[in-house]
Symmetry: C2
Subunit: 317 residues, 2 copies
């Protein structure tokens, strides 16, 4: 038994589980592993040079015959070039984030690319309707990494998104297991995007210290930096995060923060610097207790969710 | 068809729906209406003088034969007296919040009172186990009113709470309809507590302007005040909230905030001052579009949730 929704149909995937694009982390290795396991793997283009992105797309294709996505944060200057590459390489799916959904959507769709847009508010979901995207990823404030103000939770945002659009909605933020998947479906989503849970996998291409930090983290161990600058991230509350928050409290500006954070994600992901790196993770890290293979994570979520739906029917008398 | 869980059994109620205790708002009128409709009505004792609390308990009993609760925020100096009254009046259920669950629990349980404790983190759920309460209300940061740092979302907190305890868990924050109820059950909760949805009801004893503010609010219209003082509230982002946030940004202290906020909840709830009152509401206000009767709200949630569970089974192929 499996779960089939409009998302599995739209993206031509076996399981309604998408991989969150995570800069410095999700290249071809994780994307291919995810797609081979039945979900939708995602190459994060944010920090890639053009030739690197082209190589990652080629390598993904070499290692999986299944559909995959490229995530393009539209606010970055490099996004224009990334869109051109997505088109010229004919990638199956683009997940556009951090910017207006209107930009580039029509061009990409004309070339047969499915476009999903990340939204943080109900208003943004409305703009997705106008932009003509194929689906919406409703991302709650419990997510790790870049989260936009005004910090709507997954529980509220997914419910609102489904009301605002007839497009299929994918829930992101706070989801790490079968119960999260079923809760997302209950709210009206037809798929989930997971990130933090995938960081604690055998295939995760990140420093082992970072993986251990996920396993150790409690629900209360993350915080949000950048509330005063508008460029917000949810990260492990380490020395770097505390220092940024102190700079913000002192009313100092973006420059001082930038001088600390440039290269900080690479420092965490590649070098394993858990104190002065940006150790991005969602609140749900508190629920992640063991390293699994990506295939196990996905299989467990799907098998578990069928049991969980059966559990729910037992409350009805 | 109805929903039966350990919460309906524990509290001897028909529907697994609890009313959030809301100071200045949920007195005997709303508590009795909620309990008559099959849920668990709650008298908010926070702002009541002892004789007022005794009167509200008597009036609730006069208007319903069903169980009801008294909410006692333990951090208030008046809580000791409220606990004594709950015991002497033999109320069926006490919801203790804003304080250590250990305090008073044993005394109340010995007198046959069921005790539920509000928790904001997984650690607090652990302390509930030690305190011997009968159930835990896991309250996410999307809730209106008093929410404690570090702002864990309902989606994450409920899932964690269920892992930390064998006690029945009630989900609070972000829930206003059947889909929210089923999502809460999916995460492992066995009941929900709702607040914001009940403010937009015919029976809600609050100023009509406040009710209209709930109907008008979008998901993005609330904000959190008090992050610098630790005494945090989610409220409508009005002039008062903006002014408090400005005071906080300027690094000024609790005294200046107190001078603005003393009496501000009454100002909103009783006098309908939407700009200089504390218009408390959750993020889910964006999902509340019409005034209903309390009975309709509850009946719709239950009937809808049975349909929603059936909808979920259709994703399985």
């Amino acid at each position: 038994m499996e779960l089939k929704t409009r998302i599995t149909e739209l993206l031509n995937i076996r399981y309604p589980i998408l991989q969150g694009g995570m800069a410095w982390i999700t290249g071809w290795e994780m994307a291919a592993a995810l797609s081979n396991a039945g979900g939708l793997g995602t190459i994060a283009s944010a920090t890639m040079e053009p030739e690197e992105l082209i190589l990652n797309i080629a390598k993904t294709r070499e290692h999986t015959a299944n559909p995959f996505a490229v995530n393009i944060p539209l606010r970055l200057p490099s996004s224009q070039r990334a869109v051109e590459i997505a088109i010229s390489e004919q990638v199956p799916v683009v997940v556009s984030s951090a910017g207006s959904p209107g930009k580039h959507t029509e061009t990409m769709k004309k070339r047969g690319i499915k476009v999903l847009q990340v939204a943080f508010t109900a208003d943004m979901v409305k703009r997705c309707n106008e932009a003509g995207v194929d689906g919406v990823i409703a991302m709650g404030m419990e997510s790790g990494g870049n989260i936009s103000p005004p910090e709507i939770s997954t529980f509220v945002l997914v419910r609102e998104a489904v009301e605002e659009t007839d497009l299929p909605v994918v829930a992101a933020g706070g989801i790490a297991d079968a119960r999260g998947l079923v809760a997302a479906l209950s709210l009206g989503a037809e798929g989930v995007q997971i990130g933090t849970r995938l960081l604690a996998t055998q295939e995760a291409t990140l420093h082992s210290g970072y993986k251990q930090a996920i396993l150790r983290a409690k629900d209360t161990d993350t915080c949000i930096t950048g509330r005063t600058t508008g460029l917000q991230f949810r990260v492990l509350k380490n020395m770097l995060a505390t220092e940024i928050q102190n700079i913000e409290k002192a009313g100092k500006g973006r420059d001082e923060i930038d001088s600390l954070t440039i290269g900080s994600l690479r420092k965490a992901a590649v070098l394993g610097d858990l104190e002065w790196g940006s150790v991005m993770m969602g609140q749900v890290a508190g629920m992640v207790h063991e390293i699994k293979s990506i295939r196990e994570v996905l299989d467990d979520m799907i098998a578990g969710s069928i049991q969980e739906i059966e559990r729910l029917t037992k409350y009805i008398v």
